[in-house]
């Protein structure tokens, strides 16, 4: 099955999840997602998702000056974003449990 199709539906959740414990700038968030096992995630998809979540009021941004390179814009979860993460996580867990059960019943073990 094509992972990129699956990713489309859950990228919001994945981005919110990697921002839960620590704020991050764009490329940093991308690295965390890849390190977390989503290595097929597209760069543009992550940046686009960040913009959409920001416009939806789930994220706040602030700029941090860096000594070696250009200034970096950090993204952080706000209250709306945390609530969104909690809701989406619940939906995802229910969905994943249902899928697991379906696959076990039909013997579709990988």
């Amino acid at each position: 099955m094509d992972t990129t199709q699956l990713l489309k539906g859950v990228l919001d959740l994945a981005v919110l999840a990697v921002l839960r414990d620590e704020d991050g700038y764009g490329y940093d968030i991308l690295r965390r997602l890849r390190a977390g096992g989503l290595d097929e995630v597209g760069d543009a998809s992550v940046y686009g998702t960040l913009r959409r979540l920001y416009n939806a009021g789930c994220l706040t941004t602030y700029v941090v000056a860096s000594e070696e390179g250009p200034h970096r814009k950090y993204y952080a979860l706000n209250k709306t974003g945390s609530a969104q993460l909690e809701r989406s996580a619940k939906v995802w867990r229910g969905f994943a449990t249902a899928m697991d059960a379906l696959l076990d019943d039909t013997g579709g073990r990988a």
Binding site: G26, Y27, G42, S45, Y47, G48, T49, G69, P70
Partner: protein
């Protein structure tokens, strides 16, 4: 090395920006804001941008899709663009010719000059509609009233004329201040203008038919 990296980044950035050209400026700036630092980071890792990120147009498509924006509109064909330009030029030409014939340098000047006349006419039509609604409909250029209870026809004509004149004054005043109105109010006014123009044409047609009929009946 540094130089070529920067050049590669600049070219890639420009191509993504170009592919997002159809978006409103604010949305476009929004999407492009993180792009430059991102490209620098990728380039600094030693990856070739096209290999790592794919073609700039594909990157732009993915970016806009993930941001929840509609896909880029298909660029209009060159033939359609050419045709549109031709038609516009032709219309410009015709407009200038008509304006010139009437002694005006441009269509804008001509329209500016006849606007107050239109305001007066609009007010007249509106006033006639109001008096017709109150006193009953008559074909004619002056409000008439024969059926009004108690009042003499002469008095009603006077009242009607006052109403029509007041409507004309009001219409000109509205015309003067409407340029400062918000768009939706101006749109509403334009719709009203079109309706009034339609009513005026219908009334003219009516009067024309009535005049011909009376000529046929009594004229011989």
């Amino acid at each position: 090395m540094k130089k070529t990296l920067d050049a590669e980044v600049a070219v890639y950035y420009a191509q993504v920006a170009e592919a997002l050209r159809d978006l409103p400026a604010a949305q476009r700036a929004d999407l492009l804001e993180d792009l430059m630092p991102h490209l620098r980071e990728v380039a600094a890792e030693g990856a070739e941008l096209d290999l790592r990120l794919g073609a700039p147009t594909a990157y732009a498509d993915e970016l806009r899709a993930a941001a929840g924006l509609p896909p880029a509109a298909a660029p209009t064909s060159e033939v359609a663009q050419h045709l549109r330009r031709e038609v516009r030029e032709l219309a410009d030409h015709a407009g200038r010719a008509v304006a010139g014939l009437l002694g005006f340098g441009s269509v804008e000047r001509l329209l500016g000059a006849i606007r107050p006349a239109w305001w007066l006419a609009r007010g007249y039509v509106a006033g006639m509609i109001v008096t017709a609604a109150v006193f009953g409909w008559h074909d004619g250029i002056v409000p008439r009233a024969e059926l009004i209870n108690g009042a003499t026809p002469g008095g009603a004509i006077f009242v009607g004329c006052v109403v029509v004149l007041a409507a004309m004054v009001g219409s000109v005043r509205i015309g003067r201040i409407a340029t400062g109105w918000p768009l939706e109010r101006r749109l509403a006014l334009w719709v009203l203008d079109v309706v009034l123009l339609g009513v005026a044409l219908a009334a003219l047609h009516n009067a024309d038919v009535a005049a011909r009929l009376s000529h046929e009946l009594y004229g011989k």
